[in-house]
């Protein structure tokens, strides 16, 4: 065997052993990294208040394995570096390195041969088996301690706050799923009941999109926000439908009035959709009639005046109907009611004045027209079917919000929602918009089919508040019943939801919120 053969064999043997040591060393470091990583993962969970999720332990395990592999690959020795390391290990003073390098550069004679011989003499004394892997006890001990700590942290449970948050999220998810299912079902039912025109209107709205977005909510706030958005869409649709129906009604009214000699001009303007002009004509008509009729026709004039105001308001608000939909709807109902009153009064006035006034025949004609108008206005209640449906859906959204806030079984919950409120609600479901209309805001300004109601009407927003707050001594107030307290609570949440809505002007939100805070403080 030549000198170089012996040298290369020795280097190969040492290389194999060094690489094995490298691998085992890398594995040990990998274990340490894995343990440290596991502890980090556990600490992250524990410091956040959660119970440790052991599924994430795969990450440090993979990191440790990658590190061990990377360590081995990066530190893997080639022949020259192995020779240099063996020189250092056995104290050969670069003999192996020099011999291998000289041989590779084809320097093999003369003093190079002597060098090779000298190196062989040195390696014969060296024992490659001395290259052993020494177990890094400190390193492995540290890894073990870290792993034990990580395992110990795995036994810790969620903190109370986190448990409550998880429970809340769970409820939010459950309620989201139920509300989502309910919304879809209601939407499908609604679609079936609508006329093609209404369907078209429904399609144009963002309602479906918003309902579609109501799939997953990260928290209650988001869920409430989405519900408010859907409610807003319903109200918008309702307002649009009401505006359209109002316009139709007034035009039809105009056509009817055009048949009468006395109200021909007014009827023509109404049927042409020129509501401002119609209002003006009606005012003129009022002043001329005042001269003629005096005190007895005051009631008719008042009715006419209101109608004028109503029509004037219609014209102004036809483009921006959504904001005050409920008041407008109420105004139309009131107009119908007042017309009925006017008709009645006119009839009674006619009886008293017969023979005194030569124009009694014309009044009879007007009486007939006004009767028709009143009849038409009553019909409006039916025509506003779509608007009502939207309003009911909006109220149903209020129920959903209550359900989202309080969950099933509470008074403000979705008792009217089949499958949700039935099991735990106090009353069985009654259908859309009927069961808990009273639980939400004051049921809206619905048209009273009975007609003659005597109620005090003021201009909205200008009169004194009907609500008076009586201060009680702190802590002395006693609730009438648990149900009453729940009602107040529900009302409070409704106000919160109301404030959260986007269609409330910013300058009003502050006032409402302040009011709510005052009430809240008093409650506490």
């Amino acid at each position: 065997m030549t000198e170089h053969k012996k040298i290369s064999d020795f280097i190969a043997e040492t290389r194999e052993r060094f690489n094995l040591v490298n691998l085992l060393s890398g594995v040990c470091w990998g274990v340490l990294i894995m343990s440290a990583g596991m502890l980090c993962v556990a600490c992250v969970y524990v410091f956040a208040g959660y119970a440790v999720n052991r599924r994430w332990f795969w990450l440090p395990a993979v990191c440790g394995a990658v590190f061990a592999l990377g360590w081995y690959l990066l530190r893997r020795l080639d022949t020259i570096s192995s020779a240099a390391r063996a020189d250092k290990f056995f104290g050969l003073h670069d003999s192996l390195l020099s011999a291998e390098s000289f041989y590779r550069h084809d320097r093999r004679n003369g003093i190079y041969e002597l060098q090779a011989r000298c190196t062989v003499g040195l390696i014969e004394k060296a024992d490659a088996s001395k290259i052993r892997f020494r177990l890094p006890r400190r390193l492995l001990g540290t890894a073990f301690i870290l792993a034990v700590l990580a395992a110990g942290l795995c036994f810790l449970d969620n903190s109370p706050a986190v448990a409550a948050r998880i429970e809340e999220q769970k409820q939010v998810d459950e309620r989201t799923a139920k509300i989502n299912e309910y919304l879809k079902k209601q939407y499908e039912e609604l679609e079936k009941k609508l006329t093609p025109e209404q369907k078209e209107q429904l399609k144009k709205s963002e309602l479906k999109k918003r309902i579609g977005e109501f799939q997953k909510n990260k928290d209650l706030k988001e869920m409430m926000s989405k519900l408010a958005g859907i409610e807003k869409e319903f109200r918008k649709l309702s307002a649009q439908a009401a505006a359209k129906q109002d316009e139709k009604f007034l035009k039809k009214l105009g056509r009817e009035m055009a048949n009468s000699k006395m109200t021909k001009k007014l009827g023509a303007e109404l049927s042409a959709g020129e509501f401002s002009k119609a209002a003006k004509t009606l005012k003129d008509f009022k002043s001329s009639e005042q001269k003629k009729k005096g005190k007895d026709s005051k009631a008719i004039r008042d009715a006419m005046k209101r109608l004028a105001r109503q029509m004037s308001g219609e014209n102004e608000n036809s483009d921006s109907a959504e904001g005050n939909q409920s008041s407008r709807q109420g105004d139309v109902e009131k107009a119908a009611s007042k017309f009925r009153e006017s008709t009645q009064k006119m009839k009674s006035g006619e009886q008293g004045e017969e023979g005194e006034n030569g124009e009694s025949g014309e009044f009879k004609e007007a009486d007939s027209d006004l009767d028709d108008m009143a009849g038409e206005m009553e019909l409006l209640d039916m025509k506003l079917d779509f608007s009502d449906k939207m309003g009911e859906m909006a109220e149903m959204m209020g129920m959903c919000q209550n359900f989202a806030m309080n969950g099933p079984g509470k008074e403000g919950g979705m008792k009217g929602m089949p499958g949700i409120g039935e099991s735990k609600g106090k009353e069985p479901g009654k259908g859309i918009g009927t069961a808990s209309a009273g639980n939400r805001r004051d049921g809206g300004d619905k048209i009273n089919p009975a007609g003659k109601t005597t109620e005090l009407k003021g201009v909205k927003g200008s009169g004194p508040s009907a609500v008076s707050v009586s201060d009680a001594s702190s802590g002395s107030g006693v609730t009438g019943s648990a149900a009453n307290a729940e009602k107040k609570k529900a009302f409070k949440r409704q106000v919160e939801n109301f404030v959260r809505r986007e269609d409330i002007p910013e300058n009003l939100k502050g006032g409402v919120k302040e009011y709510f805070e005052i009430v809240h403080k008093k409650e506490n």
């Binding site: 240099a84 003073h93 670069d94 003999s95 390195l97 020099s98 390098s101 320097r107 003093i111 060098q115």
Partner: protein, 331 residues
């Protein structure tokens, strides 16, 4: 890697054996008179074999001059001693042209100075003026003397063994960098230990005087110098040597912080040549046929310490160049 001169393995072996034998014989003979100082003796002999000059630094009375005179005797070489004084002139050292009358004809004849020897002892070299010190520049590097446009070659081997006193600085002239760089090694002669003191007294204060034998000659010295040129050095080890020398320069990116802070100028390529030659001698003396990192580390201090010029901060803080060199090696 540096190519070694290729010769037959048998010849190479005999040359190496001759080197080791001669070196050992000289060292042994010197040790008969000089007590201790083994490292100094080995380094001086190394420098002589490599054809370099040595600057011996130490306080008076440590045997510097005695060592040089012993070496001259053992090597059987022409020896000259010049006591460097402030009034010493270059002509006093190198020689000068004088007017002579030969067969009735007057002519200028070059009168050789004391430098025309094999071993020159420049005692207390830092007491001469820079002008006289500079007269040694050519002779130390080229081994020639140029006077009146005539170049005179010195007999080989030639080497200067200079001494200087590090503590008595009054009336001295520090050697210029160019002069320092021409010294192969700068060796610090230290105080002997107790046992060595004892032996020194026994050998020098008794009635018996040690008779030294000339165990070698100039020819053998030159042959030994030729032998070391055959010792190969592997590429990575040569890289290591170069890195060490380059690291003495503060502007080098691999220089350690201590160099950047305290060194004004680092070692020259001549230092790398000196280190390589000396490392080869060390390798042969250690029974190897190649240069290793340890050989380089062994000679680094002696070869570099006088070639590193300290900065103001280094001088002010009393930093020793050996500390800087150790810092580079340990990097």
């Amino acid at each position: 890697m540096t190519d070694a001169i290729v010769m037959d393995s048998e010849v190479a072996q005999s040359e190496v054996e001759h080197f080791i034998e001669e070196f050992s014989r000289i060292r042994k003979e010197i040790s008969r008179f000089i007590v201790g100082q083994e490292d100094i003796i080995e380094k001086v002999l190394t420098a002589i074999v490599c054809g370099g000059h040595v600057l011996l630094e130490g306080v008076p009375g440590l045997g510097k001059t005695a060592l040089v005179m012993t070496i001259a005797k053992v090597m059987n070489l022409n020896f000259g001693r010049v006591q460097f004084t402030p009034d010493l002139l270059p002509a006093d050292l190198l020689g000068t042209n004088i007017l002579t009358d030969r067969d009735g004809r007057k002519q200028f004849e070059f009168q050789k100075g004391p430098i025309f020897v094999n071993i020159l002892l420049a005692d207390e070299i830092n007491r001469a003026t820079p002008k006289t010190q500079s007269a040694l520049l050519e002779v130390m590097q080229e081994k020639t003397v140029t006077v009146a446009q005539h170049k005179h070659s010195l007999h080989l081997p030639f080497f200067v063994l200079a001494t200087q006193n590090p503590i008595e600085m009054d009336g001295t002239y520090p050697l210029p960098e160019a002069q320092l760089d021409r010294f192969f090694f700068k060796l610090r002669v230290t105080l002997p230990g107790h046992d060595e003191f004892f032996e020194i007294l026994n050998r020098t204060c008794g009635s018996d005087e040690v008779e030294l034998d000339a165990v070698t000659d100039g020819e053998n010295i030159l042959r030994m110098g030729n032998t070391i040129r055959h010792v190969p050095i592997e590429k990575t080890i040569q890289d290591y040597l170069i890195k060490i020398v380059r690291a003495t320069h503060p502007e080098d990116h691999a220089a350690p912080e201590i160099v950047k802070k305290y060194v004004r100028y680092g070692a020259s390529p001549r230092a790398a040549q000196a280190m390589l030659s000396a490392a080869r001698v060390t390798a042969i003396l250690r029974g190897r046929y190649h240069v290793s990192r340890e050989d380089i580390q062994d000679v680094a201090c002696a070869a570099l310490r006088h070639r590193i010029i300290l900065s103001f901060e280094g001088e002010a803080e009393g930093i020793c160049t050996d500390t800087i060199i150790q810092g580079i090696i340990n990097q």
